[in-house]
Structure formats: structure tokens, C-alpha cells
């Protein structure tokens, strides 16, 4: 039937990427009628998700690798899209969370009477355009193109409030992301083009036999720091600074598009450009150490943050380092774990940010010390926060437990016991920085002058603000059940269609 209406997986690749762009145009066109405008965003998201989940997913799952060449941007270099498991997972995450985040953003921005909402939804859709482009890109140049597009399109979102602080944060955001990508990632790309004559993503990598261990280590470092979106220390500074943005933007940054694009890029480059064999020679060692350091240091810093969003930001930095460490361990199981963690962390962290946003809009509270007893007034929000926290920490029966198990057993498979220890320690620290929020909310005693928290009536935030986190929290539960299938699917990126080749975690 799909063929009958001309929707081959190849054309769906293009349509899925272009739909968010079309949505952005529609948002501008309907700018004067807010309900129609939001309708455009939601329907654009729904159709995109349907296309990715309904047509691309079955095709790739069946072993197909649809591919479409669009045009030649430099002689010998095409802008091309392809579908493979890792990219499809990212595309699914981005397009599904786009819908949820849009709903939340409607509640947040309207509840806040924020100006420039049309601009907001336009650039939001454009950022998703970039994210889908990154997810489905078939070569490094295409990926780089869309990667830069994300940076540029999220800049107006980060600086949405237009205040002096927003301006400063925007400066850091753009300056760091763009100077690292132009200054480090671009030369890496050109270096690879110069030595191998190709930039295609190929299973098994393209660098094998072209570069020696030392050069491979330098190239990997260029990628690891060039994708500052992955927030490896010391290029992580933009992430806490960008906390000045409205909460839906934080959700976009932390879960939907931006940081995920960073870790996705690194994972994809490890699998399809370097190849596992090249990295298992020790070329990845320096980056592993830096990732491990980031993992622990960010967790410790998170413990000391009083501002809830800042605390979550450092938590994100730590969780991203999980993925980077997993990817650079270059063991099959760790790579599957890295792919899984992209999904699990996205759903867990977006829940936490939605909750932080709901608390801010409804109760006007931003800091931990103001939240004593708040959970009793906003039970849905705080329950969602609780579930999201458990998933990020990695406690069954939530999705996050699986990805951490895969990452840990991947570290064991790669014979790196120290990495297992780092993972365990960071999970313990995660308990330390996430559970106090929940504990204070439910059991804390509000200070005498805090009328809001002392008021005993249950008074939940508006449904548009409280239902999205509740939904994503339930997704975290559901992901616990479906993690096995996801892992099977992700195994396909290593050229092994079933888990038999990789083994269970």
C-alpha cells in the first residue's frame, strides 16, 4: 500500500526530514492564529512520527538500509540521507518528544504570557529539522551541515527572553558550539576526506587501514571535543549557562535534539567511521579517561547545585559522559548500551525538566530550598519527577536500568573493570543529587513564611503542564518492557541482526 502512494522508504527519508521544515513554514504562516499555529506544529510532529515509526522502522528492521542522494554540494560529495538502526532510534526520539514538548510548551508559554511565541515554535521546528537531518545523514558532510543548523536554530530559543543574562548565555552557547565544530570537527572531516577519499558512513568504518593508532587518537579527540553538544569537559560550559532559556527549550536541549545530536554524532562516528577494530587498539584511551572524569566530576558538581535546573544540567553532563564512555569503549555491548541510553536518558531527563518547568510556572519556585513540602501540593508532578529520577539513576522497573546494565556489561566485555566501577559510582551519586528533590517535596517541612507550600489543598499545575511529564514518566516504565526489542534493533548497527551475536547483557 505504501508503494501505491509512492512512499518508498527512500522517499520517506526525505519527506521525514523536510516535514519539520514545512511545519516551520506553516507556523510562520499561521502566526496570527495561535491555535491554528499550534495545530500545525502538532500535526507536523504526528505525521513525522508516523512516517518514521510506520514506514522507516519496519524497513530498517527487516534489514533494509534505504538511502537517497539529494544533490552534490561539493564535487564528489553528496548530501545524502540513509536509514540505519542508530539514526532511526534518534529520529524516533526526536520526533516523538517533539510532540510532547510542543504540548508542554503551549502550556508553559501561554501560562507565562511569553512574547514571540511564533518565533519560538518556528525555530523549534527548524531545530527538529536539523535533528532529523543529523539522525538520517548518510555521510559526515551531511551530518556536519545539519549539526550546524541545529546550533543556529536553537540560538534564538536559548536567548528567547532577550535579557542580558540570556544574551550572555547565548554568546557562550553559540561561541562554544560553533567554534569547536568549525575549529575541531571540520578539520577532522577534511582530514578524513583527504586520507580516505570518502566520507560515507559504512558498517565497520572507513578509517581502518588508512590511519595509524596515533592519528586515530587525535582524530577521535577532534571529534569528541568538536561535538561540544556532547558536553564533554571542558567544553560543557554552555549547558549550565543555557539554563536561562525557558524550560521547554531546556527540554529540547537536554532530551530532544541538541545534546542527543552530540552523543549521537560521536556514537555514529565511532561505529561507522572509526570502526570497532581501530578503536580497540587503545586509540580511544584518552577520551575514555576524559569521559570518565566528566562523568564523576559533573555528578559531584550536581550535588552542590541549589537551582533545580542547574542541578539537572550537570546531571545531563554526567549522563552524556555515560554515552561517550560507552561509545569509546568500542565493545559491542557498550555501543548498544550507548544507543539505548540515548533513548532512556531522553525520556527520563525530559520528565525531570517538564516537572521543573511545571513547578516554576505554577509555584514560581526555582531552587531546591524553596521546595519543601511542595510535592504534597503537586503530587502528579512530583510522582513524575520521582519516576524520571529513578530512570536516570537506573533502578528497575524503569527503562534506565537496562541501558546502564548494557553499558556496564559492555565495559566488562571490553575488559575495562575500572569503567564498571565508574558507572556504579556515578549511579550512586545520581541518587545523591536527584532523590533529595523528591524527598524534600514529599516529606520536607515548608518554612513558616512560605504560604504556597503550607497551603494544604492539593493544587496541581494545569493539565498541559502536568500531563506531559506524567506521560513521559509512564514511557520510562514502558521502555523497561521494550528495552529488549530496542537492543535487538540497535544490534543491527554492528552488522549483527540479532542479539545472539552480541549476547544478552
Amino acid at each position: 500500500m505504501n508503494d501505491a502512494i509512492g512512499l518508498t522508504p527512500e522517499s520517506v527519508l526525505l519527506v521525514a526530514v523536510l516535514l519539520p521544515l514545512a511545519t516551520a513554514v506553516a507556523v510562520v504562516a499561521f502566526g496570527r492564529w495561535p491555535n491554528l499555529r499550534e495545530g500545525a506544529t502538532l500535526s507536523g510532529g504526528a505525521v513525522t512520527l508516523a512516517l518514521v515509526a510506520g514506514i522507516l522502522l519496519p524497513a530498517v528492521r527487516g534489514g533494509g538500509r534505504p538511502r537517497i542522494d539529494l544533490f552534490e554540494i561539493l564535487p564528489g560529495l553528496q548530501v545524502s540521507l540513509h536509514g540505519e538502526p542508530l539514526g532511526l532510534i534518534f529520529a524516533l526520539v526526536a520526533s516523538s518528544l517533539w510532540i510532547v514538548t510542543s504540548l508542554f510548551a503551549v502550556g508553559y508559554l501561554r501560562g507565562h504570557h511569553s512574547p514571540n511565541q511564533t518565533r519560538f515554535f518556528t525555530f523549534f521546528a527548524l531545530a527538529i529539522f536539523g535533528a532529523l537531518g543529523v539522525a538520517l545523514s548518510a555521510n559526515l558532510l551531511t551530518l556536519f551541515l545539519f549539526y550546524e543548523l541545529i546550533t543556529l536554530c536553537t540560538f534564538p530559543l536559548v536567548t528567547h527572553d532577550g535579557t542580558e543574562r540570556a544574551k550572555k548565555a547565548g554568546r557562550l552557547y553559540l561561541g562554544l558550539l560553533m567554534s569547536t565544530s568549525v575549529g575541531l570537527m571540520l578539520p577532522a572531516v577534511i582530514w578524513i576526506w583527504n586520507t580516505t577519499g570518502t566520507l560515507e558512513f559504512r558498517p565497520g568504518g572507513i578509517l581502518q587501514g588508512h590511519v595509524a593508532g596515533g592519528s586515530a587518537a587525535v582524530l577521535l579527540a577532534l571529534f569528541a571535543f568538536g561535538t561540544a553538544k556532547a558536553a564533554l569537559m571542558p567544553v560543557h560550559r554552555w549547558l549550565p549557562a543555557a539554563m536561562v532559556a525557558p524550560t521547554p527549550v531546556s527540554a529540547l536541549l537536554h532530551a530532544v535534539a541538541v545534546v542527543k545530536a552530540g552523543v549521537f554524532t560521536l556514537t555514529k562516528v565511532v561505529v561507522y567511521v572509526f570502526g570497532l577494530d581501530l578503536l580497540s587498539t587503545g586509540a580511544a584511551r584518552p577520551i575514555q579517561w576524559i569521559a570518565a572524569f566528566t562523568l564523576l566530576a559533573a555528578s559531584v558538581v550536581a550535588l552542590y547545585q541549589d537551582n533545580l535546573k542547574r542541578r539537572l544540567a550537570y546531571s545531563t553532563i554526567s549522563q552524556l559522559a555515560y554515552i561517550v564512555l560507552g561509545a569509546t569503549l568500542a565493545a559491542p555491548k557498550a555501543l548498544v548500551g550507548a544507543g539505548l541510553h540515548i533513548v532512556m536518558h531522553a525520556f527520563g531527563k525530559i520528565t525531570l525538566f517538564f516537572c521543573a518547568g511545571a513547578i516554576y510556572v505554577h509555584a514560581h519556585k526555582t531552587n531546591l530550598r524553596q521546595m519543601h513540602g511542595l510535592g504534597r501540593r503537586m503530587p502528579v508532578t512530583f510522582m513524575a519527577f520521582f519516576l524520571g529520577s529513578l530512570s536516570v539513576i537506573g533502578v528497575p522497573p524503569l527503562g534506565g536500568s537496562w541501558s546502564k546494565l548494557w553499558l556496564g556489561s559492555g565495559a566488562a566485555q571490553g575488559d575495562e573493570p575500572w569503567a564498571v566501577a565508574v558507572y556504579m559510582l556515578a549511579s550512586l551519586l545520581a541518587i545523591g543529587y536527584l532523590m533529595p528533590v523528591v524527598a524534600r517535596g514529599f516529606f520536607g517541612e515548608p518554612s513558616p513564611d512560605d504560604a504556597f507550600c503550607r497551603d494544604q489543598d492539593i493544587n496541581e499545575a494545569s493539565p498541559l503542564l502536568s500531563l506531559p511529564p506524567a506521560f513521559t514518566a509512564l514511557c520510562c516504565l514502558a521502555l523497561f518492557v521494550f528495552a529488549g526489542e530496542l537492543a535487538d534493533f540497535l544490534g543491527g548497527m554492528l552488522g549483527a541482526p540479532t542479539s545472539t551475536a552480541i549476547g544478552a547483557p
Binding site: L74, S179, G183, P187
Partner: protein, 513 residues
């Protein structure tokens, strides 16, 4: 009729030089403000069409030789068009044609009304000179046309609205004449030691007198002269003032053409006339040019960051971009040279677009003379909050700026891709690092303006202004649009640039990856 057409097609190489040359005195005679503009407009667009036809012909049939008056060299004057000249001619005539559309509105404001016809005449003469340099087949005519373009550009700059236009024109005149003299000396020495002025003949005779002191001195003279006209650091002193105080449209025109043609002269003499064997392998001109170009690249960008006047900031950015072009040349690899040549056109497009966007701003705010006492209309503070009141101008500036940074899907990215690739080919990774460092500096100076445009509040309520007229905004967007289109559809520019690079580096033609 068909006879006429054949006359035109046979004389294409000459027409594009002669047309503006004849139209210039006509402008002076006509004297009427708008009528002279029409004359100039028709002539420049005809020249543009002419160059495109010529480029097509060269591309299909190979290099063309044209003997002026039917006199063969070495007695007559030869015009010789190959892939490199054709490319430069297209750029110069295209920029002239587009900029001229914006000229009347901008001149109305910045140039006294009884001097418009002189401005158009000087404009056409300058165009004659630039087109002439780019098509001349002998060294002496290169010098003659260089002087024509220089003298007329001094006049154009002096027309600027502020009094300092005069002093900057004088400074340019002194320095520029020095540059011209160096070139004349070089040409004279070449004639002395080889007995010919024809570029092709020179190319054949120079290897025979290899190592002759006179040739070395000639080379030094030509390189220094070209570098002065090119404004390569440290010979750049004239450029920032000249660009800042010239009328806005003139700045846009000169920034996109004059330095580019000087770059052409440098590349032509080093690679075609002297040849790689003597200029690079034997006398290592690249050892001098490469460090200077790298310094220019970084210094220009760094100086631009601290500049508060936008026009001057863009002038410093030009210094940096000139550095990129010379780096491409001094790498002496196929990709590097392709990058340098493609950047010649790419930078022309984007910088001209940016300067025209500034012309839009000046048009709205008035310039610092002619009774309009609103000083420093291009100061950064003037641009506060313009994102709201002049959305199209601001958007054009942002897009041009992104191209300057080298964001993918803009022309700036294409240039940088080839330059960095060239650096890797030459095994000089540190050059690649400096190129990208300078791009990162570009983020700083572009974003400084973007922040002022979009985040700062307009200074006073009565300063609320509307959008610039489409007569100026249109050309701005044509150029900005071109810098996006050629960033995605790179085949025409890159193919022509790599063909030109092959002309210059025939020995390395097959050495690319």
C-alpha cells in the same frame, strides 16, 4: 544583422573593456544625474553579459587571444582570456552591474548632486581598468590599466561624505602610486632582461634566463607592488580608512573587485609568468607570502573584533579574507589554489552584500555630512535594535555574516573546505589550524553585530526608522542570495576555480587526490 552579431562575438574580449571606457566620457558630457546612471547601467549590464558569454566560450573552446586592431604581438596589444581571467572578469562585471542598481539612491544621500555624473564616470573608468587588467595579455598594459583603475578609485573614494574621505584618498593615492611604480619597475626589468612584454612570451623566456639577478629583482618588484594593491599585511595601511570613508556603494564595489584583481595579478605573475619552477622552487616566494598571509588572516579578524564602527570592522575583516586568498596561493597545491581562487569570487559576493547592507543602514540614518548632522551613522550603536525596524537589512547582514564565518551551505564554507584541504595536502596542518582559528574569530565579530541588531533596544523613540528602499535592498539580497546559492550549488564556481587552478599549476593538475 548577422554581420553585426558576428562582429560583436568576434570582439567580445575587447568590447567589455572598450564599452565602459567610451561610456565614461559620455557620462561627463551628458551631465544629467539620472541619464548618466542609465548610461552606466546599460554599459555595465552589457559588459556583464559579455563576460558571461566570454567565459562560456573559453570554457568550451579553450583560451582566446585577441589582437587589438589586428596587430599581432609582439608589436600589437594582445588580450588573452583563459579560465582564470574569465572567472575574474565575470566577478568584476557582475559586481559592477549589481552595485550600480543601488548607486543612485545611495549617491543621492552621500554625494553632492552636481557630482553624480563624475561619480558614474569614475566608476566606469575604474571598471575599465579592472576589466583591462584582467584581460590584458602583456605586462605593460597590466600596469596601464592598473593605473586607470587606481586613479579613478582615488576619485571615487574622495567623493565620500566626510572630510576624512579626502585624506584617506590622498593616503591611498600615495601608497597606491608606490605600488604602481613597483609594478612598472618590475615590468621594465622584465623587458630589459627578456626583450618582451607579452605574458606568454615572458613565460617561455624566463626559464632560459634562470637565476638572472634582474629577473629576481623584477619578481620582487611585481610581488611587492601587487601586495600593496592587494593590501596584504603589512602593506595594508591604506585600506581601512579608504573603505570607511568612501561612499557606501563605492566601498561595496571596491571591496569586491579591486583587491580581487590585485590578487589575480599576483597569481598570474607568480604562477604563469615566472612559473612555479623559479618563483616557488627556486626563490621560495611562498616562504614570505605564507607567513604574511597567516598574520593577515588572524590580525584582520582580531582587529575587527575590537572595532566599533561596522564599516571599518568589515574593512578589517577584508584584510583577514585577503589573507585566506593568499594562503591558498602560497600553499602551492591544487586544492589550496582552488580555494584561493574560489574565495576570490565568494568573498566578493558576500563582502559586497555586507557593505550594501551597511549602505541600507546609512541610507536610513543619514550620513555624517550634507547638512544631516547625525554623525557616525555606521557606528555600532546606530544599529541598536535594527532587527525589528529593518528586518530585511538585518537578515541580509546575518546571512552574509554566517557566510563570513564559513557555516556550511554558504560560500564561505566552500572556500574554507578547499583551503583546509589544501593545507592538509601540503602537509601543513598548522596552517589548517590557523585558518579555522581565524574563522572562530569571525564568529566573534559577526555575532557582536548580530547581538546589537537583535538584542539591544533602539536608543530613542524618534529614531524608529523604516526599511530601506528596494532599490538598495534588492541588490543586497541578490548578492546575499548568490552567496547562499553558490554555497549549495557549488558546481559552477568550484569547477571554474579548479580549471583556473589547473591553468596556473599545470604540473600539479593530476597530483590531486
Amino acid at each position: 544583422m548577422s554581420h553585426l552579431i558576428s562582429i560583436v562575438t568576434e570582439n567580445l574580449p575587447m568590447l567589455q573593456v572598450v564599452l565602459p571606457m567610451l561610456a565614461a566620457p559620455l557620462c561627463v558630457v551628458v551631465h544629467h544625474r539620472r541619464a548618466t546612471w542609465w548610461v552606466a547601467l546599460v554599459v555595465t549590464w552589457a559588459s556583464f553579459a559579455n563576460s558571461v558569454a566570454l567565459a562560456r566560450k573559453v570554457y568550451l573552446e579553450g583560451p582566446l587571444s585577441y589582437f587589438v586592431g589586428g596587430w599581432e604581438p609582439p608589436w600589437g596589444i594582445e588580450l588573452r582570456i583563459d579560465e582564470l581571467n574569465a572567472f575574474v572578469l565575470c566577478l568584476v562585471s557582475a559586481i559592477c552591474a549589481v552595485v550600480l542598481i543601488a548607486a543612485p539612491r545611495s549617491f543621492d544621500q552621500e554625494v553632492e548632486s552636481d557630482r553624480h555624473h563624475l561619480a558614474y564616470a569614475a566608476f566606469l573608468l575604474c571598471m575599465t581598468g579592472l576589466m583591462g587588467i584582467a584581460s590584458a595579455g602583456d605586462a605593460f598594459n597590466v600596469f596601464v590599466f592598473l593605473e586607470i583603475s587606481s586613479l579613478s578609485s582615488y576619485g571615487l573614494i574622495a567623493l565620500g561624505p566626510s572630510r576624512r574621505a579626502l585624506s584617506s584618498a590622498l593616503r591611498y593615492l600615495i601608497v597606491g602610486t608606490l605600488g604602481g611604480t613597483f609594478i612598472l619597475l618590475g615590468v621594465g626589468l622584465l623587458y630589459m632582461s627578456t626583450g618582451t612584454l607579452n605574458l606568454v612570451d615572458l613565460q617561455q623566456r624566463i626559464p632560459a634566463s634562470d637565476g638572472h639577478r634582474t629577473i629576481v629583482v623584477a619578481m620582487v618588484c611585481v610581488v611587492v607592488g601587487a601586495c600593496i594593491k592587494l593590501a596584504l599585511v603589512p602593506l595594508h595601511g591604506w585600506l581601512p580608512d579608504a573603505y570607511t570613508f568612501a561612499p557606501s556603494v563605492v566601498t561595496a564595489f571596491l571591496a569586491a573587485t579591486a583587491t580581487k584583481v590585485a590578487f589575480y595579478v599576483l597569481a598570474r605573475f607568480l604562477f604563469s609568468v615566472f612559473g612555479v619552477a623559479s618563483s616557488i622552487d627556486r626563490f621560495h616566494v611562498d616562504w614570505v607570502l605564507l607567513p604574511l598571509a597567516l598574520v593577515a588572516m588572524v590580525y584582520g579578524a582580531a582587529a575587527a573584533i575590537f572595532e566599533r564602527d561596522v564599516k571599518r570592522m568589515l574593512a578589517y575583516s577584508s584584510l583577514s579574507q585577503i589573507g585566506y586568498m593568499v594562503v591558498g596561493l602560497a600553499l602551492v597545491t591544487k586544492s589550496g589554489l582552488t580555494g584561493g581562487i574560489v574565495h576570490l569570487v565568494n568573498h566578493g559576493l558576500m563582502k559586497c552584500g555586507l557593505f550594501l547592507a551597511i549602505a541600507c543602514v546609512v541610507l536610513r540614518f543619514g550620513s555624517p555630512h550634507l547638512g544631516v548632522q547625525r554623525l557616525g551613522s555606521t557606528h555600532l550603536d546606530r544599529l541598536r535594535g535594527l532587527g525589528r525596524s529593518m528586518p530585511w537589512t538585518s537578515a541580509a547582514f546575518v546571512l552574509g555574516g554566517l557566510s563570513m564565518i564559513g557555516v556550511p551551505a554558504t560560500v564561505g564554507f566552500v572556500s574554507k573546505w578547499y583551503l583546509v584541504l589544501g593545507a592538509f595536502e601540503a602537509g601543513k596542518w598548522w596552517v589548517a589550524a590557523l585558518i579555522l582559528f581565524s574563522s572562530a574569530l569571525a564568529i566573534a565579530y559577526v555575532w557582536k553585530v548580530v547581538e546589537v541588531l537583535y538584542f539591544a533596544d533602539p536608543p530613542r523613540r524618534e529614531d524608529e526608522v523604516g526599511e530601506a528602499p528596494w532599490w538598495v535592498l534588492g541588490p543586497t539580497w541578490v548578492l546575499v542570495g548568490a552567496s547562499l546559492v553558490f554555497g549549495v550549488w557549488t558546481a559552477p564556481t568550484v569547477r571554474m576555480a579548479s580549471a583556473a587552478a589547473e591553468v596556473l599549476l599545470p604540473a600539479l593538475a593530476g597530483a590531486g587526490p
